[in-house]
Amino acid sequence: MADRRRNNGPPGGSKPLLYSCMIKSAPNKPTRPTRTRKPDELRKIYLKTGITPPASGSAYLELESPHHSPTFLLPSSSALKLSVAVHGPRPLARSAAYSPHLALSCYVKFTPFATRHRRGYLRDPTEKDLSTQLETALRGVIIGERYPKTGVDVCVTILEGEEDRWWAEEPLGGAASVGGWGLFGVLAGCVTAASAALVDAGIDCIDLVSGGVAALVARPLGNGDDDGKRDDGVGGEVVLDPNPTEHENIVAACVVAYVASKDEVTLLWLRGGSSSETSEKLMDGAVSAALASRGVLEEALKETALLKFSEED
């Protein structure tokens, strides 16, 4: 009879797990992906509308995927793939009170396989927080007075989310364990794609809104001063559209949703950045990143319109 009072080990005995990244002189030690873009250069964006036919409006956004190293099964850095569907305007629920404006509700959901850490099927607090932020960003551009007593649902499904850090660092912890940097890029992508989907649905907006991210990257820990990295005078280098797997030491990041024609920011999320000088630099960087992604947004929507009008003629 087995001993059920004590928590005994397995009968066969086992070896502790040993990851190759823990061995200092492993033969094929993984190397951190490096940023090959210029600091002010964004990853290539693929944006297309009208990919979910039952929805009133939809969009799909994908960021350029990194090169895959043949040595390891795991992709060395992460990418972003997300799809947005806009449903409505449709009547409010029977129990909802009269509303003279459009009732906007956003649902951001990671698929269970979106990140290295498996996500649940229910919405977790992170996803709820992203939903609220996206709602704030979009509320600023929709002309809600034109749609009384109706609601619009914006559903974002993230098929692949950005990681918070490089996978080989995960067992190590340490300074790199400050998490959440991946959410910035995800939120910016959500804003840009949701704006495209809203316009595709034909909902009145004052302007397009696009998202942009900038991050402050400090020198890697333990490195000397002279490693060829630029210093922007705020304790590090400001990079646009950072891929968190490529940087060891992100100290601050900022995401904005920017409305270009009014020069307005409908959403600002800043983390880290102790001085006002840092924050200002980051915000300026994020706005210029948003302006750059707006260019892609405009081109994608013009394509949509050409397609729709050519069907009509």
Partner: protein, 221 residues
């Protein structure tokens, strides 16, 4: 057509004084600005007492018409086609399935920047992507003898009614009215389940059984 004809939301059209904003536009920094994706169109606005004295052209942005999902919503003055879903003593509940937006000329255009209804002016009924709830109160069924209306003698569950939206209503549904010759039942089914033809403004005839039933009949167009 070229790329240049297409306007994105936020594209500037003309200064606000030069024209009146039509559907698909709004005013921003004293400039008429596009608010939907589409093509610009200008039309001579018909003069009525409430439009600006200049009576200049009205500028609007037309969405591509090929998509059935361009948002159409019931608004006051819109003609709707609705199916009666339940009858009570005081009111009939129905679900609105199609509507003809109020034409731009028939409604006084307000000067406020966001008050114009987001509809394009065509007289064809447009199917709605989702049905909306409508309510016909007994006092809105006909214009005369309002207090003698018995809803059971005016509608039957399943009938298709042509009506006009008189109010956005409360949380329950849009208030509809069938007062007027052109409003009322357009498709009726008898108690036996057969289709009916109108014989007078208040009666329909089941051609199979020869029985007459009471309805508030719309004048055939």
């Amino acid at each position: 057509m070229s790329n240049l004809d297409i306007l994105l939301p936020g594209a500037l059209l003309v200064p606000a004084g030069k024209a009146t904003p039509g559907p698909g536009t709004h005013i921003q920094n004293n400039q008429i600005t596009a608010s939907v994706l589409g093509r610009a169109s200008t039309a001579k606005s018909s003069l009525n007492s409430t439009t600006r004295s200049k009576g200049s052209t009205s500028v609007s942005v037309l969405r591509p018409a090929s998509r059935q999902t361009a948002p159409v919503l019931p608004s006051v003055g819109a003609q709707v086609y609705a199916k009666v879903t339940s009858l009570q003593r005081q009111q009939a509940t129905c679900s609105i399935h199609a509507l003809v937006p109020p034409s731009a000329a028939a409604l006084p255009r307000l000067d406020s920047d966001v008050s114009s209804t987001p509809t394009e002016g065509s007289l064809e009924p447009r199917a709605l992507a989702t049905s909306f709830r409508g309510i016909i109160r007994s006092q809105d069924v006909r214009a005369t003898e309002k207090d003698k209306v018995k809803l059971g003698d005016c509608f039957r569950v399943g009938d298709v009614v042509r009506a006009v939206v008189i109010s956005l209503g409360d949380q329950g549904g849009y208030y509809l009215s069938t007062a007027g010759n052109e409003y009322g039942v357009v498709i009726a089914w008898s108690e036996a389940g057969n289709g009916c033809v109108p014989v007078s403004w208040r009666e329909v005839l089941d051609e199979k059984t020869g029985l007459r039933e009471a309805r508030k009949v719309a004048k055939p167009i």
